[in-house]
């Protein structure tokens, strides 16, 4: 394989891997902040134990998210030097702002939150976790404004063969950003909340600390329902915007080779033949694609072959059709996973409202594997977005093949690809092992020990299993 292909694999693997942890961090941060707020308002110790229990898993997850984030930032320069030179004057901006505004805030206040339980007043300590959640959200905003530039370049001009920023606020006001950002944030809340409900369901099934986990489940399931519905609505907005900004991605995600008639049907599944540029078998729902694209029963949707001709006239000869199968199927996987999330959380919310969640044991058993759904949806969504943009690295401005580091050899990229992937594998295994371990142990029983000031910890308090239970 050539350096280009290897660099693309590395970017894909790192990004998808990193984004398994990021949405869980953002989602859990808000849920934990909410739980701790309940503790501070209600002064009920249950919420403190809850906060600490989910906090442990949050920190494990956060650690992996942070370290993979560093690679994410540095790999542009390592593998994509020509891309970095071309867009640095625009794209580098949001990345630097992200570090200055969000990372500092997030890391500093997280450190204070972890170690500050008995050093700060309750309210100041609570403010720390809220700041972490807000900083994580802002971080997503900045990074997505950078990504949005790759999808839909704005606020720039091309000078001496590179993109230069001309309007910072145009980057922040990018229409693409404001359909992408809500979709990602709601998706993150759905990820965090379905994680909480999944683990809580497991603990309820095993009848361990039912009181605490029933409450966690109730909080989680309501957030899951609201956020997965909002994710779907935001996704719909994004699809409509896609029609205007990147019709080729839209056409590929529908495997639509030829421009549709006045009312476009939605293809549920199809057997796609990219070589012959046609579909064999396909199952269609009439009118649905027009509704999806324009909110009305009529409206033509341009096909890939027509767009290809149009782009060739505009950008010169070349293949402008992205990998159709990947784009088509990743979109469907995302939508199916999202539907599953909505249905399961709707059922769960009804169960909680009727005070029957504990008794629906079959449903609770389903909620454990259902934890995977948001992760599948998040990954599939990014694969669709990034693969569907190909052959462009910055839509309309630079092709992916022109962005790679010219003198970094395939051997070097292969070494780092194998090295990082191995480390990711080890990290994932250890992470899962420790999460399972933490869940099995359950919430601490003696967290209020630090409340009663007279109580001293023994010198080896940190190592005795009872103290760390």
């Amino acid at each position: 394989m050539e350096a280009l292909e290897l660099a693309r694999w590395q970017f894909g693997i790192t990004t998808v891997y990193h984004f398994l942890f990021v949405p869980l961090s953002i989602g859990l941060a808000y849920l934990i902040a909410f739980m701790q707020t309940m503790y501070v308002i209600k002064k009920d110790d249950k919420y403190k134990r809850m906060t600490k229990f989910w906090g442990k898993i949050f920190l494990l997850n956060f650690a992996v998210g942070v370290v993979t984030g560093i690679i994410q930032e540095f790999q542009f320069g390592m593998n994509w030097a020509d891309y970095s030179r071309f867009v640095g004057a625009v794209f580098g901006g949001p990345l630097a702002v992200e570090a200055l505004v969000s990372f500092f805030l997030e890391s500093t206040f997280l450190g204070i939150w972890i170690f500050g339980w008995d050093r700060l007043s309750k309210k100041v300590h609570l403010a720390c976790i809220w700041l972490v959640a807000i900083a994580a959200t802002l971080s997503a905003l900045w990074i997505l404004s950078a990504n949005s530039f790759m999808q839909e370049p704005v606020g720039y001009e091309i000078v001496n063969g590179r993109a230069e920023m001309t309007n910072f606020f145009a980057l922040l006001g990018n229409k693409q950003l404001w359909v992408e950002f809500p979709h990602v944030i709601y998706g993150a809340l759905a990820t965090g909340s379905l994680f909480v409900t999944g683990i809580s369901a497991y603990k309820m099934l095993r009848k361990q600390q039912v009181d605490l986990f029933k409450a966690s489940f109730s909080i989680g399931i309501v957030v899951a329902l609201v956020s997965s519905l909002l994710t779907a609505f935001a996704g719909h907005d994004q699809a409509q915007h896609l029609m205007k900004s990147q019709p080729m991605k839209m056409a590929a995600s529908e495997a639509l080779w030829h421009t549709s008639g006045e009312s476009a049907p939605w293809t549920v599944i199809a057997s796609i033949d990219p070589a012959k540029q046609e579909n064999g078998f396909q199952l269609e729902v009439p009118y649905a694609l027009s509704i999806l694209s324009y909110n009305k029963l009529t409206g033509k949707v341009p096909g890939m072959l027509e767009l290809q001709a149009e782009y060739e006239a505009k950008y010169g000869p070349g293949n402008y059709i992205p990998p159709v199968r990947t784009t088509f199927w990743s979109f469907r996987i995302m939508v199916a996973a999202g539907m599953g999330m909505i249905l399961l959380s709707l059922f769960g919310t009804i169960a909680v409202v009727r005070h029957k969640a504990e008794t629906y044991r079959r449903y609770l058993r389903w909620m454990l594997p259902a934890m995977a759904l948001p992760f599948i949806a998040n990954s599939a969504g990014w694969i669709m977005t990034e693969v569907g943009r190909q052959p462009w690295i910055v839509f309309g401005l630079q092709k992916t093949e022109d962005g790679v580091s010219p003198l970094v050899s395939a051997g070097m990229v292969a070494t780092s690809l194998i090295g990082f992937t191995l480390v990711y594998g080890i990290l994932a295994s250890v992470f899962i092992y420790l999460v399972v371990h933490t869940v099995r142990k359950g919430a601490d029983a003696d967290v209020d020990a630090d409340e009663s000031h007279g109580q001293n910890h023994t010198p080896n308090a940190g190592v005795t299993p009872t103290a760390s239970l």
Binding site: R85, A89, V90, L110, N456, A461
Partner: protein, 336 residues
């Protein structure tokens, strides 16, 4: 003017990184060596527990700032020092998760494994930064298209390894003194004793590095910014450390290693100015703050953002050190 401002800001970010992460790298390297029991090692880790992640953000910010302000510097440096960066990233990944993972199981083997990950995760970046800085000072093979045409092994020489070792020693000293301020009892005594020993070695190796720089670089003759008395002050600060420890003034000793780190970093960047990457093939091909920079508008926007946020960052990070100003004791609640 804007380019110079950004060169200074990036210097500030690296100064922040080396000063702050310097002592937590040092503590990381000292943990498995000075900590005889698990509790002692836990105490040592907890001295940097609330801070290390915030300290590391100075590096991430420096990387982001280079990308935004000097895209060509970022692209040439990161793609050129590829394998060195790869190793550093592996080290930082291991170290970052180790702090979180180690306390989750009580098995001694598990803990000792992660302690050694912390050790190497702290040692390797320090060593590699030394190697990188020496090469930035000496110049590396950069072609007319701003691409690095050497290999990883071209970066390794007696000179660059000496730089690496002096940074490792400096960070060890800085870390030992940080421990002398944040621990008590035998651990504190051990930290002070090791600081005295490392102090002498640090001065010797750093002196060797300065001598080698005279032969290896043209910094002493070039027309860049003359650092004047800055490096002299850095040397004096380092020499004073010994006397402050002897006099029992650990706080001053720590300030003095900090001053050495800050002043040495400033010296390196002053000598480099206005170059950011010197080409050893042809001086015409060197990257400077002018041919590596972003356009004026981008630099202006970034200046506004940086100058409004950095004071806040300094303020709340300082507050963190205030909140956790007490020495960490083995009778504290240690596991988090």
């Amino acid at each position: 003017m804007l380019e110079t401002t950004w060169f200074i800001l990036i210097t500030v970010l690296f100064v922040g990184f080396f000063f702050l992460e310097g002592f937590d790298f040092g503590v990381g390297m000292l943990t498995p060596i000075l900590g005889k029991t698990d509790t002692e090692r836990r105490v040592m880790i907890n001295t940097i527990g609330p801070f290390w992640d915030g300290n590391e953000v100075w590096l991430i910010t420096a990387g982001g700032a280079m990308f935004a302000a000097f895209p060509n510097w970022y692209a040439t440096l990161f793609s050129g020092f590829y394998m060195a960066l790869f190793l550093m990233l592996l080290a930082l990944i291991g170290r970052g998760v180790a702090f979180e993972f180690r306390s989750k199981l009580t098995n001694p083997k598990w803990r000792s494994t992660w302690d050694w990950v912390i050790f190497f995760g702290s040692l390797l970046p320090a060593l590699l930064w030394g190697v990188a800085l020496a090469n930035l000072m000496r110049g590396v093979p950069v072609d007319a298209n701003m691409n690095y045409v050497g290999t990883f092994w071209d970066l390794i020489s007696l000179y660059s390894v000496t730089a690496g070792i002096s940074i490792v020693l400096l960070f060890l000293l800085h870390g030992a003194l940080f421990l002398s301020l944040k621990t008590e009892g035998v651990l504190r005594e051990r930290a002070r004793a090791v600081a005295l020993k490392i102090g002498a070695w640090t001065s010797a190796v750093l002196l060797l590095f300065v001598v080698l720089s005279y032969f290896e670089t043209d910094m002493f003759t070039s027309k860049g910014l003359s650092p004047g008395t800055v490096p002299v002050l850095a040397g004096l600060a380092l020499l004073s450390v010994h006397f402050f420890i002897k006099a029992g003034r650990d706080g001053w000793a720590f300030i003095m290693t900090g001053a050495t780190i800050v002043l040495s970093t400033i010296t390196v960047f002053m000598l480099l100015f206005p170059n950011v990457m010197i080409s050893s093939l042809n001086p015409e091909w060197s990257l400077t703050i002018y041919n590596a920079a972003s356009n004026a508008y981008t630099l202006k926007v970034m200046t506004v953002v940086a100058c409004t946020t950095i004071p806040f960052v300094l303020a709340y990070q300082a507050w963190t050190y205030w909140v956790f100003r007490k020495r960490v004791s083995s009778t504290d609640h240690l596991d988090y």
